[in-house]
């Protein structure tokens, strides 16, 4: 065994990254600009509003989607963030999570549809998804930083990579679960493939897709601290600071704020899925 030289997998990856970096720098620059604009635009938009107005607005929205109890809880939670002096950091994190989720859905849902349509795509995608989900996120932080420089963009890319697999999986699963007889019926009445997708498959897969979106948001939030390590700031930055300085109050308050945002987003997305489910009950 000792005679077999070590296979230089690590070196290959390294060379690949350097090659990509030196040849496609322009492309990554554009991606970086676009993503930065997205996250910062959203954050600045939120911060432009007086916090009280934003809280009121959120409460109404939550009430419309869920119920009075959860809306009230969301309002109290947001007031606590304001009270702890974590408003800006919280909104920073919120816009990061929402942008990451948006991008994950933008790519994940079409990909999920593709895996449902084509057995080959399904077979190719699944191992990649396994890799994305089990590879420790720290590992791809470094290449992300090399390609996109320190800041919010590599953090966001890493978050998308980590949070997208459940979207792809559950979109594919939801579409595959639509009973064959319904597809047969749709076909017998002369539907095109797109009509079948839009009128039958997606609406019936919606509860499953919503579960995927919920998972995606939760995974994005769990990346917040790791993202802070490469300069994403926000609540993750607070937690990280508490960790580095052994500062219990700062760390705990930052963590609590993450939990509050997580619970609000979770309840809202869960109820979005449920609302559709009761309407489509069978």
């Amino acid at each position: 065994m000792e005679n077999i030289p070590k296979i230089p997998i690590g070196d290959w990856v390294n060379e690949l990254i350097i090659f990509v970096q030196s040849n496609f720098a322009g492309f990554f620059g554009v991606v970086r600009t676009v993503i930065e604009a997205l996250v910062e635009g959203l954050r600045d938009g939120i911060l432009f509003l007086p916090p009280v107005l934003f809280i009121a607005f959120t409460m109404v929205l939550v009430f419309l989607i869920t119920n009075r109890r959860i809306a009230l809880g969301a309002g109290l939670g947001l007031f606590l963030l304001l009270n702890l002096g974590l408003w800006e950091a919280s909104m920073n994190t919120l816009s990061l999570v929402l942008t990451a989720t948006f991008l994950a859905l933008l790519f994940g849902i079409p990909f999920g549809i593709l895996t449902a349509w084509s057995e080959a795509a399904h077979k190719c995608t699944m191992p990649v998804l396994d890799l994305m989900q089990t590879m420790p996120p720290f590992v791809y932080l470094v290449p992300a930083v090399i390609l996109f420089k320190i800041g919010v963009v590599p953090a966001l890319i890493a978050t998308v990579v980590f949070a997208m697999p459940p979207v792809i999986r559950l979109t594919g699963l939801g579409i595959r679960q639509v009973p064959g007889e319904l597809l047969e019926a749709a076909e017998a009445f002369g539907s095109t493939k797109i009509q079948k997708l839009v009128k039958i498959q997606l609406p019936l897969a919606l509860p499953t897709i919503m579960a995927g979106i919920n998972q995606c948001i939760m995974l994005s939030l769990s990346m917040v601290v790791i993202a802070a390590m490469i300069g994403a700031g926000g609540l993750g930055g607070e937690v990280l600071r508490g960790l580095q300085r052994l500062d219990i109050p700062t760390g705990f308050e930052g963590g609590l704020a993450i939990v509050i945002i997580a619970i609000i987003l979770d309840r809202v997305t869960q109820n979005l899925g449920k609302g559709k489910r009761t309407r489509a009950a069978h």
Binding site: P179, E181, L182, E184, A185, A186, E187, A188, F189, G190, S191, T192, Q195, K199, I200, P203, L204, R279, A280, A281, H282
Partner: protein, 389 residues
Amino acid sequence: MVRGLVKIFGPHPQKVLPLLRDGLSKEQLFEKTRHAVGVYEATFSVRPGEVFVLMGLSGSGKSTLLRCLNRLIEPTAGEILIDGEDIVQVDEKRLRDLRRRRLGMVFQRFALFPHRSIIDNVAYGLEVQGLPLAERHEKAKAVLEMVGLKEWAASYPHELSGGMQQRVGLARALASDPDILLMDEAFSALDPLIRRDMQNELLALQSQMNKTIIFVTHDLDEALKIGDRIALMKDGMIVQIGTPEEILTKPANEYVHRFVEDVDMAKVLTAGAIMKSAETVSTKDGPRVALRRMKELGISSIFVVTRERKLAGIVTAEDAVQAREENVEDLSRILAPDPPTTLLDTPISDLIPVLADSKYPVAVVNQDGRLAGVIVRGALLAGLTRRGD
């Protein structure tokens, strides 16, 4: 019109087709190549406005054959001609068009879309054609009214009973006014009472619509009841095509014979099939003529008809004797009122109670009231025991 239709399931159906044509049996083919034969050399033609039943046990290939007709399953070989156009050869766009406008389909397990209201289910076919909302809802409402579910338009499928759901399935198939209805075991998932109602309703609708219906079933009674003609299938092949009576009385082979053995003949044979020609006297004859005819024939009553052969009544021997004694010349004065009558196409199961209650034979009349024949108890019993001979 279907000619030489073949469906082979497996990765290379075209390659193994010649083997089958060379006389390899289905079992041998499966052993050798792992290809299963769904339908082999099916040839039949359906007339416009006819209810054509594909019947067979499960696995006989009847549903596969039906699905080949709108290419939900791609046939391996053969032709399907609708007004001279070969469906097997048309491209996808034309196929979609045919499915949208000419071929409606009803499914065994209803296959309603659970996330759509009843009216949107019914309007689905119109929706994929691109009709505007108002127009397709108007048409869908009209069809829903036809199947008696107008007030359920805004409900969802899970709120309806099985029978109602299948009416929606039927309405959905009818909404785009196709000429051809494909019905795949449409009533098999319903319980027997509802099933019978639906069969009657389909027949009633059909008498107004005059669609060409191809109906798949494994239920012989259902096939006999609704089919104008029946194709009996076994192992992917059509064994016999014929009217219900032909299938019952002239089975093509031992298989058909065994298949139809347990049929309740009383439900299949009609009054017209077992009646004897009626001996009659005219209203202008007197009691003496009537008595003489009865004596000649050895019967105790005789039907009296008008000059147009419409049924006027019945005269019994006793009444005729009495009339002769009293010198009554006019037969119409001694007619027994309302002798039992029946129509030509009444199944004889419905005649048994009539005959049991009546001391007279039953008169069989056609639509305009003319006497067509007569059924006496003996003829009924003979009819019940008649079978393939």
